[in-house]
């Protein structure tokens, strides 16, 4: 089974090629920088449609390349990241400002360039960001972050507002950029799992599994059936506790204190079940390239999960019978289907805006094709719609675990080691995590990782989110943000 078809295109033909791909109904997923020897190339990953191989379109990078952001707005952040980490310039990018490396920071050399001999370091201190000029009188500027209230991830948010109305909103992420893609270079593929599991703590499985699938694709490993089904169970366990957390946060921002406590307690119970199953509250240290590190005893699950499911359903029913909660969600942060598609929304954010795309169904992996799964969809595009699809995803996770458990049979949990290693191998792995699609593209040369590209769900959804904040009001901001259910660690990497 192949995952990729490859094509080359000349820089002068790039715009035309992109246009014709869009006309065929393809969707761009990501773009990244890779070196072939000393030559930099830009790789565009394109989804050609359900059950078809992904297209890897490469263009030899010259100092200047045409930006595709006008045609495919979701590519803008990828282009900016490449501009930050290389000498390449995308002419016509509508926001040619620093993204990953903040203003005030500088690199001693280029991270992915194999010809660079200098010691690579990031140094400096962050200075205020470049912001669009707001042409209006009486505009107030509010900078919130990078250190914010409560226990929150680092991020800085700028609001230009008059009274209650937000005229323009700019999130400044990437304070937490750890350079993980470069950390993985030259590592042995098996030990890379440890880092992949730690890209996003609450996305341990969606990242770890996408990484394993990518390496297994490159090395042509056949993962035993039992390991595949156990991986499904792990992935759906992750969906359960993340979605319970989501409803706790949504209750918090709508000032429903008891609802917040109920959600947090259910999340705690789910994490304790994770520990019972795997020895880790975030399901870490179980995945391995080729299968799992050890077998799991799933006999404990049915009783624990059916109790949790009963209480989760009761909790969701209580929330949807609470007028004050619903009132704050209806019409908040509306995202249209067109904008969601063009700017790359994924997972529940896309589902809430009527886009019926889910990698578990359209590009099934790890035996999801054997399970019956209905993608929850709403067309409202508001916070209510996003919460409703999350609620349905939560309940369907319990059902998927039951289906996978029924198919389980005793057997091997690790693939046999490959007999021969190709000199150069590319692989692609993907998962549909609780927040949406996660992609890992790997290139392995002589048994070591040469390049790993990580695309997290939140990287996509953070790009879309500001569009729902402009022209909304301050009071709804926290609710809108909670309804997107974003994390920063995975986006920043």
């Amino acid at each position: 089974m192949g995952t990729l078809v490859k094509a080359q295109v000349a820089a002068s033909q790039l715009l035309n090629e992109a246009r014709s791909l869009l006309e065929e109904g393809c969707r761009f997923q990501m773009a990244y920088l890779r070196y072939m020897g000393p030559v930099p190339e830009i790789v565009y990953l394109v989804d050609r449609g359900p059950n078809l191989e992904f297209l890897e379109l490469t263009v030899r990078a010259e100092t200047e390349l045409p930006s595709l952001s006008d045609l495919v707005p979701l590519l803008s952040w990828y282009e900016r990241e490449i501009m930050d980490l290389s000498d390449i310039i995308f002419t016509g990018n509508p926001e040619p400002f620093p993204l990953v490396l903040l203003e005030g920071m500088a690199l001693t050399s280029l991270p992915f360039d194999p010809t660079s001999k200098e010691i690579l370091q990031l140094f400096g201190d962050t200075t205020p960001p470049q912001l669009p000029e707001v042409l209006a009188t009486q505009v107030q500027d509010l900078f919130w972050g990078p250190v914010r209230g409560d226990v929150l991830e680092t991020g800085e948010f700028h609001f230009a507002y008059i009274g209650e109305e937000i005229l323009h909103y700019t999130p400044r992420l990437f304070y937490k950029h750890r350079g993980i893609e470069q950390d993985l270079q030259q590592q042995d593929p098996e030990s890379g799992v440890i880092l992949a599991e730690r890209v996003s703590g609450v996305g341990t499985i969606c990242h770890g599994l996408a990484y394993c699938l990518a390496v297994e694709d490159a090395l042509r490993l056949d993962v035993p059936r039992r390991a595949q089904l156990l991986r499904v169970i792990l992935a759906e366990m992750e969906r359960i506790y993340n979605n319970l957390h989501f409803f706790s946060m949504l209750s918090k921002t709508t000032t429903l204190k008891v609802g917040e406590a109920f959600g947090a307690l259910l999340e705690e119970r789910a994490k304790q079940i994770n520990a019972q199953l795997t020895g880790h509250r975030f399901l870490r240290n179980v995945l391995a390239v080729g299968g799992l590190r050890r077998d799991l005893n799933v006999d404990i699950l049915p009783t624990m999960l059916s109790n949790l499911q009963r209480d989760a359903i009761d909790y969701l029913d209580s929330l949807s019978a609470t007028q004050s909660y619903l009132d704050r969600l209806i019409g908040t942060g509306t995202l249209s289907a067109d904008v969601a598609f063009d700017f790359g929304a994924t997972g529940p954010v896309a589902h809430g805006s009527g886009i019926k795309r889910d990698l578990r169904v359209h590009h099934p992996y790890s035996m999801y094709e054997r399970l019956s799964l209905e993608i929850p969809v709403r067309t409202g595009g508001d916070a209510l719609a996003r919460s409703q699809v999350r609620g349905e995803a939560l309940i369907s996770a319990f059902d998927l675990i039951r289906q996978a458990t029924e198919l389980l049979e005793p057997g091997e949990i690790a693939a046999a080691s490959p007999t021969s290693q190709p000199e150069l191998a590319d692989g692609l792995g993907w998962t549909e995590g609780p927040r949406g699609s996660c992609f890992y593209a790997v290139r392995i040369r002589n048994g070591l990782l040469e390049r790993v590209k990580i695309k997290s769900a939140s990287f996509s959804n953070w790009k879309v989110f500001p569009l729902t904040v402009h022209s909304s009001n301050m009071m709804d901001y926290a609710i809108n943000e909670a309804s997107f259910g974003l994390t920063i660690a995975g986006a920043d990497r």
């Binding site: 201190d125 962050t126 680092t154 350079g179 890209v199 947090a264 307690l265 509250r281 975030f282 007028q323």
Partner: protein, 269 residues
Amino acid sequence: MKNWTLKGLAAGKVTTKWPASGENDGQDKVLGFPTFHPQDCRPGCRECILKCPTRAFSTKTGVNDEESVALDYGRCINCQICVASCPTAALQSSSNLTFASKSRQDLVVDEGVNSRENDELRSRVSSIFKGSLHVRHVDAGSCNGCESELQALCNPFYNLHRLGIFFTPSPRFADVLLVTGPVVPQMKGPLLRTYEAMPRPRFVIAGGTCPISGAPFDMGYSGGSGLEIHLPVDISIPGCPPTPAAFIHGLLLLTDRINQRLHGGGYEQ
């Protein structure tokens, strides 16, 4: 319309009595830090050193020129790989998790090194905060695992407020700075500015393995090597991430309300 007050009351009390009494610390079946007995090592064996993804093991030369292996829990992310690779019983899985320590040295299993006595005055000052402790958290590049567990401290099961410990929105009201993440280059400035904004006396906790040593993100152009080179650290709480109980243990240890369990790398049950 749902009556949430009645629903809440009907649910009854769900908060654990731990650590005052009982064993229900919410960590059942969590695999903790490996126990390590270097005296059981096979001579010359280097399996753990080769397999550990965070370089937590190192060799030491003793008085008789004998080489032995040392383990630094400040670099350990409890991934259990060493346990699987150990050919003898020197390394074993355990359920030991509450490893918070006042001294960095206490995190090292190494025959012969004794733990350094802590500054007595500092511990007298910190015990003033026994009744009420305000914490400012800074995420200096974490994976969000530690944040998730810190948020869990405020859930009804752990209910951190019962212990008189609160998170503050501003460093100006904070007694202690709790840092997560390896301190990546872009977070160094914001971290130091937050510390500067705190009133004295002030304390610093390294929450998780990352801020203790940077592991596993102590490499590359945008990694970090932990908190110690930037700020004086009072308490180190290793773990990837530390469980909520391990965080509670560390916070109580700061104000001398609970005993340190790890001394010179050895753990008291």
